[in-house]
Symmetry: C2
Subunit: 298 residues, 2 copies
């Protein structure tokens, strides 16, 4: 193995510490950044995620507002809550944990959140602001990948970046962010012909397709930086009854070629909540007309 | 010369004829699509463009509303007009001719137009809808290029497309449209290293950088389709005192390699007004809850 392993867990801890430092400063000025999380229904996985987010929010000194609504909550009641949160000056970020029950629409729910508080960066308005190079709130996982890349590579200008996967949640905003950093950006996907060859162009290879170990070592340009966003849970080969997480990249072979690579787990994953906190801090600073925290935004 | 020359003038005439056919049908149902054009000040070039648009609008049977405001119009007065046009059911498309006088903001002006009537596709909302794959109004020039490419190539799926230039007006929406057509899309620009090599990958090469004849024949993959969006006016080499228009592509050498190429003038240029009319028709159909015209939208 040649590649340096990018320790997303350690870097995320550093991001959270930096956020906590800014929060302490803001509190000194009488401002407490606040994140509201809305959960509709009792999906067990969602409960775990929400508890995680709550703990992380409190740990950096922010106010955490949890709103748990019954599974049969009407859209009108959900929207009334969102409207209250939109209007609440103590709430700087609003997140609705998905999936929502089937009678509700994720699209309409996201659209109801004030774009300036949309810390998940999922709204059409934030996608448009990002696409036109204006001040947006950027989806947390691509923002986290950008932070890892900047930390590892410094100036990204002129580098060949290939993003595999074109979801609204990740691939498209990731491509926009890399373009903003002056990379030459290729958006590849399931209909790409000769995907291995396209990947081999990349100085920066970002894989987000959700197909376990699809990207092989011979797809990786020697010396490239590889960011693996995929998470597939599969039965553990050695421990009966246990599962393990694997990424979109075949780690062992890719690490032979790459100069640096994120592992799964412990790579991109931990960055997501750290960036949610960074976005809440950013939204708070903007709401108060203060300068944005350096290094924590796109 | 090997390449077929793509006749944008003839194709634009065909688009306008198709739009006229739809307009005639709508009028049979008592609906007349209407386009409002707002001009602030007396820029001579803008006066010519607005006159052109007016003539083209009337020719396809649409209602044309011209609003000429003095150069010292306040933002409040301009916005009051836009608000009236937003509310007017006879107006389906609104376009403010740019540039506006310096005391006005293009960004704020575009943001004031109802996104559903923003037939120039310039608003943040329409950029966000396009970026997230939702029903948008798409900037006219990239939409025109897409129509030319579909007409020439049919299914674009899996093709390697390279867009050189990353403006909000053209390059970025062009890349989104090609991605939507399942191309593998590379966004290249002034910071791209080895631009000739990147261009040589392209089955579809779209140049929109505004640098006369920058793309040379040896940048073009044999058999590629080349779309030249550049327009530079320069002194005519043979006719003293006259000027001529040239594109971003060195036509003679590129035409040796390409299978098809748009000339300048007479390529992409004529498509812009045709697509403005197509967008107005689309906006009208949407406003009335009718199916969108086939082949005239993204």
């Amino acid at each position: 193995m040649a590649a340096e392993i990018i320790d997303g867990k350690a870097f995320a801890a550093d991001v959270r510490a930096r956020v906590a430092g800014h929060v302490a400063q803001l509190k000194g000025q009488g401002i407490t950044p606040g994140l509201a999380v809305v959960l509709v229904g009792e999906d067990p996985a969602s409960e775990v995620y929400v508890a995680h987010k709550h703990r992380a929010t409190v740990e950096v000194g922010m106010a955490s507002f949890e709103h748990k609504l019954p599974a049969d909550t009407s859209e009108a009641d959900l929207f009334a809550l969102i409207d209250r949160l939109n209007a609440d000056p103590n709430v700087h970020g609003i997140l609705c944990q998905f999936p929502v029950p089937e009678h509700l629409s994720e699209r309409r729910t996201v659209a109801r959140i004030d774009p300036a508080k949309d810390v998940d960066g999922l709204s059409v308005t934030n996608a448009g602001l990002l696409a036109t190079g204006e001040r947006a709130l950027v989806s947390c996982t691509p923002l986290g990948c950008l932070m890892l890349l900047r930390d590892r590579l410094g100036d990204l200008s002129g580098k060949e970046a290939v993003v595999v996967g074109r979801s609204n949640l990740f691939g498209k905003p990731m491509a926009q962010l890399l373009l903003q950093e002056n990379c030459t950006v290729t958006m590849a996907h399931s209909r790409t012909q000769d995907l291995p060859e396209v990947c081999r162009r990349a100085d920066i290879l970002v894989a987000a397709v959700g197909r376990a170990e699809m990207v092989r070592g011979d797809w990786v340009k020697p010396g490239a930086t590889v960011i693996d966003v995929g998470i597939t849970r599969e039965p553990h080969p050695d421990k009966p009854g246990k599962t393990r997480l694997i990424g979109d990249v075949h780690f062992e072979s890719a690490a032979e070629a790459a100069a640096a690579i994120t592992p799964v787990p412990g790579g991109v994953g931990p960055m997501t909540i750290a960036c949610l906190l960074a976005n809440t801090l950013t939204a708070c600073c903007r709401a108060h007309g203060m300068p944005e925290p350096e290094g924590l935004t796109a």
